[in-house]
Subunit: 113 residues, 2 copies
């Protein structure tokens, strides 16, 4: 496999490698939503949401459609939803470890805080 393809895959994973961006993709799973709705549902800063959307747009993971004042986002290709679904199965298969890992993450959060 050419390195360029690996680079491409890596860049997509990179784009998905953030809880907020995963949350966005999953919010959009059942159809488009305006940026404002995403912000409201996730309860995050406007600028922050916009930055994450910008990352997803740059990788063509989402597409946007402007309507008047608003910008509606949707997931471009259901294959990515499929990726997330496989990940969910992965999670379920290893739920115990996952729990342990999460505890670990949590602990180091507190440790540094």
């Amino acid at each position: 496999m050419p390195d360029s393809l690996r680079q491409f895959k890596a860049s997509i994973f990179q784009a998905l490698a953030h809880p907020t961006r995963i949350a966005i993709v999953e919010l959009l799973r059942d159809g488009e939503l305006a940026a404002g709705a995403i912000i409201e549902r996730l309860g995050i800063e406007q600028a922050n949401a916009s930055q994450h959307l910008s990352v997803l747009r740059a990788k063509h993971i989402v597409t946007s459609r402007k309507e008047g004042n608003q910008v509606f986002y949707s997931v471009r290709d259901p294959l990515l939803i499929e990726v997330l679904d496989v990940m969910r199965r992965y999670f379920q298969a290893h739920i115990e470890e996952a729990m342990a890992m999460l505890k670990e993450i949590d602990r180091s959060d507190k440790g540094n805080g």
Copy 2:
């Protein structure tokens, strides 16, 4: 979906978000390999390989088995191979854009170098 699950998914994507680590997982696709063999096939620094393997181990993406002097690595769960396969289909479906993105990556590499 709880945020903890998203955090877990994100951490797995993060671990896969590097061309070298993708290369390692794909090398291991057909069975285990010693660290030395991975290094040789990828032509990278020993320390660098070891660091990447360490990331994959930490997320339980690979398991290792010590035999004498050597450490053999293998992919723990074929579901992750499946994820990479879906990504390949994704790549094929959007090959033109992917090419454009790769050119972009290449251009900015040169621009900064």
